[in-house]
Subunit: 348 residues, 2 copies
């Protein structure tokens, strides 16, 4: 951790608010971006944290993200809403969709918000966690531009379409899972390369479509493979069907790579679902069962070399507790923030 | 396929109707059992087909399944229902839950039926497919007794909790995925053993909690591992939270192993979800996008040695089309049916 730099949560937030407001983003929206990205950093998920700010800034500067886009509800049928981010930042649109799905679930028991014309929205687990904190079961899915080969193919055919869920877990906080559909994340491959390590077999193909475990052979035009072969493939297709097509968002190859073409809206699609547990059973009873289940996992016989069994989301929560009021950033993230601020005539 | 025996769909159905009626099951319920199991066999999923009849019969004879249990709706809030199978056969209860969730979705747009006091219900994909055939997105989850170790553990802690979804796919029929959360199915390990083959690494542990790829070392008190490590673990926990706890069904170890203790109700839990696409967008437009996506997959560049790329559910559908009016059964399944019928004083 020697290459990590620390900053207080408050200071980092204030700086980000100034940056995004300078780019024409409202204070309310800027705060959602800052809070969501910082939460991911405090969870220890740097790849979905403020590391993304530089890219958001580039998209805002080149017109691929509209700073003053509004979140609009286009259609409603009972607890089901279709909404649009209208080409704005993905995080404020997703925060508003999450607030809306919670409100709808309070009224209808179960609710879904499908969101289109959105953009990269950080870690899906943040939104699922917001729903769980209201005493509800939360589920979130998002599409992405193709970076993964479907089973049997050797070229990028589909996004690694992240999926998250969360449930209230009483004294254990929130039980939460947030996963992408690839066997390994692109960011992790870059880390392995920098450490001179190899990948596990079966995770990627090289540019000729041959299996490889050498990071450089993937990075030179290779492609990710789904986790669990046809299972990860099938789940990524589910996200396409439920969060993409159902939202009226772009389909697979029509989703713009916001990292490579910052000046063009990605039209990412999302699904936010909430189930208000209290409508069907006593919330305390539900939470008690979740706690019992977690204790069964934690007390299960450990495999050799394992000192502790974690419930889904435990590590993220524990890292956030340890971080407290501090945010630890990679040196490279720090430098990218300096560059992003400088491009707006500000100092980080 | 030399060891497969063929029977006409009609003849097999008639025989099963006679068998289950003899055990006190209504004609309507018996037909649901026969149709659902035969469909799985025609999909080529023998492990979830009429192979299960012998076990159902044993449970019915020993009181673990009540032949005349009714499906009851206990609670409703909008499009969300909590129902009970009241200790009866899992398949009729699941068919009725599926019919109900379709009806509710027509009225409310999105609907969920949580079902408790149920039993083994065959292949979840059959129910998801029924929902998709109504022009809806279907999702189905079921709990099971612990046969899989959670990540970091070396003992059975959780079920391999199957999950299925399906969407209407126009000229491609139904796009459907039906998976369990273990890296490999118990049944498949038995097949590999009979063929003298080894497992892929990382799929199972032996009775001492050590990794093994030898079928016999798993079969001698070993345990399954989740697919994709913490991802399959997290998904199996999701099913526990959404289909088990939310239904008021038994939790992990309280779920009875119906194969080992046939005389005791399993109290399995399920979740059935339906989203009526037409409430939000033109169904034809939705289906057209699914067809376009499928064509992108089918036309993607193939990996070496691959002659065709399949969309989720394509192989099952193709096998069913080839089967036509015939059902192919393993010799061992045939013999188990003869034994089941004989135990009821009938001839198969």
């Amino acid at each position: 951790m020697s290459e990590m730099k620390q900053i207080s949560r408050q200071e980092l937030t204030d700086k980000l608010l100034a940056l995004f407001q300078k780019l024409g983003v409202s204070l309310e929206d800027a705060r959602m971006v800052a809070d969501t990205l910082i939460k991911a950093d405090q969870w220890g998920v740097a790849s979905h944290g403020v590391m993304r700010v530089e890219r958001y800034v580039r998209c805002l500067q080149s017109g691929g993200i509209l700073p003053d886009a509004e979140f609009t509800v286009d259609q409603q049928f009972g607890g089901w809403v279709r909404a649009s981010g209208n080409g704005g930042l993905g995080i404020p649109a997703s925060c508003k969709a999450t607030e809306l799905v919670i409100k709808l679930a309070k009224e209808h028991g179960i609710a879904i918000v499908n969101l289109r014309q959105s953009h990269h929205n950080g870690a899906e687990g943040v939104y699922a966690d917001m729903i769980a904190k209201e005493g509800m079961i939360g589920m979130v899915m998002s599409t992405g531009n193709p970076i993964m080969a479907v089973t049997g193919s050797c070229e990028a055919t589909i996004g690694n379409n992240p999926f998250a869920y969360a449930v209230p877990a009483g004294k254990y906080g929130t039980l939460m899972m947030d996963v992408a559909m690839s066997a390994v994340a692109d960011g992790k491959i870059r880390v392995l390369k920098s450490m001179g390590k190899l990948l596990d077999p079966g995770c990627v193909l090289d540019k000729n479509g041959n299996p490889t475990n050498v990071p450089d052979e993937y990075l030179d035009g290779g492609v990710l493979l789904p986790f669990g072969a046809h299972k990860g493939y099938g789940l990524s297709v589910m996200v396409e069907c439920m969060a993409g097509i159902m939202s009226g968002a772009a389909l697979t190859h029509e989703i713009n790579s916001w990292n490579e073409i910052p000046g063009h809206c990605g039209n990412t699609g999302h699904l936010f679902m909430a189930m208000d547990i209290s409508k069907m059973m006593d919330l305390g009873d539900y939470v008690h069962s979740v706690e019992t289940m977690i204790e069964q996992f934690k007390n299960a016989k450990k495999a050799e070399g394992i000192s502790e069994i974690y419930y889904p989301g435990e590590l993220e929560q524990r890292r956030a507790d340890q971080a407290g009021d501090k945010v630890s950033l990679l040196q490279s993230t720090w430098e990218s923030l300096e560059a992003a601020f400088a491009s707006c005539g500000l100092e980080f």
